[in-house]
Assembly symmetry: C2
Homo-oligomer: 489 residues x 2
């Protein structure tokens, strides 16, 4: 990308002026169109130290109403960031529909910085590149416009800028050690930047290399490319996307109809004993997890009235409250709805050493959202792969992922619904919607079968909890959690 690239020649001052005016006006108009079209726009500015990333952003945003954009300065990592998956801090900052986010350095900066410092081996680098390609593709597939700019200056120009800034007391602070280091090792940086740009250049999220030798000229290039990109993206709302083939290792799973619910019971006495023994064991494991800083994600899905709540309770009873969190997942809030559907789960991930329990999950995409038409067919068909990619990200981070399907049969559900209806203190637990969903049992069962077949990866398999006897299901859940945790401890 950097090698062989001939940058467009800077126009005359006069032309520059008139084109700048036109581009600024265009962007000012587009901010309203973006809102109308509900287009989320993520603009990433990467580049050499002192190439003017910040000031370019500063210029570009002058044409946008402050309500419509946010600038995210990503350079400084906080302690929190180090305890989350690689892409977490960037994913957290993605714009909502109809708005801009300008990112001042992002995932490229992080990866190439580690490469340059020699703190990232080849294997991790390749893993990061794969993550980034999936991340950028997922954003685009989900309707985001992602525009990536690399501000390019020569070794000589960089040196000149560093010297000029360093001389003046007022601007000295703007030169940091990385800038100086880059300039001393310009060729090495060039090679690593170039390789990164090549590896992450794709037809739908291409890189644009900007000649940053002059501020106004850099601004013009960014504005013209950005406004053109916006025009194109606005023409392409709700484009369907190829459904990629699965590339993740899958476990063979039974269909729900093949699962016997008979004789999956436990006596009261045995239950009490087992429960105590297992909870004690889990308590101990939780401490060790915490010290080893292993993140754990437990995902619960299941039929209405299958006993998810009570099951979760038996897990959390054994846990130190400072080290876990339960996330009940209802329908998304407006801010969540306006973003990538995985965003609200990504932002709820635990820190390393902590446990996050999700009461209903991202699998809503391929169940309720699919069956109620809350997303398009292309959306939910793509989601199996997107979810496998999401969980791969978590697994690569080192997380233990345990997914439970809490299973009962149709008759058991009817009994429990009826009991709830007839027991005043339980009536809040049953709604009209539960009855309506019950009528769609068969289509749900089909969707659940497909989900379990397509997302039982070896790194994040589904476990079925037979829950006609809720006590049996609780003991089984505890055993599975313990077993999975012991594998990594």
């Amino acid at each position: 990308m950097l090698k062989n690239r001939i940058l467009a020649e800077k126009p005359s001052e006069e032309e520059l002026k008139s084109r700048l005016k036109a581009a600024r006006e265009k962007l000012a108009v587009q901010q309203m169109q973006i809102k109308e079209h509900k287009l989320p726009v993520l603009v990433l500015l990467e580049g050499w130290g002192t190439s003017g990333k910040g000031s370019t952003i500063g210029q570009v945003i002058r044409n946008i109403d402050p309500r419509f954009f946010k600038v995210a300065s990503m350079e400084k990592m906080r302690e929190e960031d180090g305890r989350k998956p690689f892409l977490w801090r960037y994913f957290a900052e993605i714009p909502e529909a109809g708005k801009f986010v300008f990112m001042d350095s992002g995932w490229m900066d992080e990866v190439t910085r580690h490469r340059l410092q020699g703190t990232m081996d080849d294997e991790t680098y390749d893993m990061r590149i794969a993550s980034i390609r999936r991340f950028e593709r997922q954003l685009t597939d989900n309707g985001y416009l992602v525009m990536k700019f690399f501000l390019h200056i020569s070794e000589k120009e960089q040196k000149k800028r560093i010297n000029a800034l360093s001389k003046d007391i007022d601007t000295k602070w703007r030169v940091n050690d990385t800038d100086k280091w880059q300039n001393k090792h310009y060729e090495k940086c060039f090679g690593i930047f170039d390789r990164y740009l090549d590896a992450t250049d794709s037809p739908s999220v291409p890189w644009y290399v900007i000649d940053a030798v002059s501020k106004k000229w850099a601004e013009l290039q960014v504005l013209e490319i950005l406004t053109e990109g916006i025009d194109i993206a606005m023409q392409n709302r709700s484009v369907a996307v190829p459904i990629l083939q699965n590339v993740f290792p899958l476990q063979k799973m039974p269909k729900l109809s093949e699962i016997s619910l008979q004789n999956k019971t436990i006596g009261d006495e045995a239950y009490k004993e087992e429960l105590k023994r297992l909870q004690d064991h889990l308590r101990d494991l939780h401490n060790r997890l915490y010290r080893k800083r292993i993140p754990v994600i437990i995902a619960y899905e299941g039929w209405d009235a299958a006993g998810k709540g009570g099951n979760i309770k038996r897990i959390t009873e054994a846990l130190d409250p400072r080290g876990y969190e339960v996330h009940p997942i209802a329908s998304p809030e407006p801010k969540e709805k306006a973003r990538h559907y995985l965003w609200r789960f990504f932002t709820r991930l635990p820190r390393t050493g902590h446990i996050a329990i999700f009461d209903r999950t991202w699998y809503g995409r391929v169940m309720v959202e699919r069956l109620e038409g809350f997303c398009s067919e292309n959306d939910w068909k793509r989601a199996y792969n997107e979810i496998n990619e999401f969980e791969k990200e978590l697994a690569d981070w080192g997380a233990v992922i345990i997914k439970f399907w809490v299973h009962i049969d149709k008759e058991t559900q009817l009994e429990r619904f009826t009991l709830r209806q007839n027991t005043p203190e339980k009536q809040w637990k049953i709604t009209e919607e539960d009855w309506r969903n019950r009528e769609k049992w068969d289509v749900y069962e089909n969707a659940i079968d497909e989900m379990i077949q397509k997302t039982s990866t070896t790194y994040a398999p589904w476990h079925i909890l037979e829950s006609v006897d809720k006590k049996y299901a609780r003991i089984k859940a505890l055993k599975i959690v313990i077993e999975e945790l012991e594998k990594v401890l």
Copy 2:
């Protein structure tokens, strides 16, 4: 792509049967929809020897009316193919809008075969991969659906098939030396196939690896993925595409208004002498070109009545008629219009050692097609890069590319139009359209300036022929042709 890939498990016989029936019926319906939507569908089947590429195609096409598809068997290279650019034989076979082409082995087979035989070095391999990525991207950007399947079988399965086929006199012919060689060097082939699949997998043209252990199961996988791909492509007609940044080295060129047409004249005597001398020289060069098998492409564009015809004549007078061809380019025929706009130029390329002269060219895309609205804004904006890529392909093949803009001013055109109008034997040369185009001189001039700025690559630069004095322009053209040819001889 092959490593780590877990193939979907073969369903039960019963399920297979019912899904096959459904998929076949779906394809039968889709063939009509494809016609309506004018979608061109290119299906590429690659895979191991004896994996059943041919028989899979044979099964799939049984559901399509013979008027709507063509099977292209690409395995055998003809002598002709070796004298054309790498992608020529594949580009020539692309489907027209509303039809299918099934390709039995294609560009993957050719490249990996050379790699396996050790007849392609790393540099050429990288160049081929870049060509292929551009080719596939261009097809998709221009509205093609390209579906790539790789039929995968294990070493053991391949051996079993080779043995079974070889035993029977009736099927013996179906096993060739390549199949046997592949099986002996299975691991090596696996590595090279895998690397190729990875390098050419893209979000918009992904690879699909098919478990080809059973014929019916392979057919089902291909049918289901193909019909799903068609559904998605039909939703996405006329999608706009990001405009990629130029990555090719450009030459600095003047604007038309900066070109002086004054004093660009030659006296009659000097003209005659020069003409003879230059034509003799060119005649000699043509022979040497022929022996060295260098292909030459001379492209003429220019204002109406600028003198293209007479200019071309002075070139061809010096050439052996067996070694050149002139292609006058009018508006495209229906078969041409139904394909990628570069197709009719790709198929008119010369053989190595020959000269092709184009009287008007592929640059129509960014002039008349742009200004008359024959293509979308996204189409012509994309075309600068597409054309640079096309010419890069020719340059990589070893072609000399000479592009002439035959230039006059507005007044000179008016004089010549008037003369034509008033001279009975010249009246055929002037039409109403010429007058209409003349009225749009200024918008044309803008478009031509943009074209010359954006497509004067170092490997295929534009040359301006000042043609107020036609004789001057002819001598200049001859000199440029001679100069460019001498560089490679």
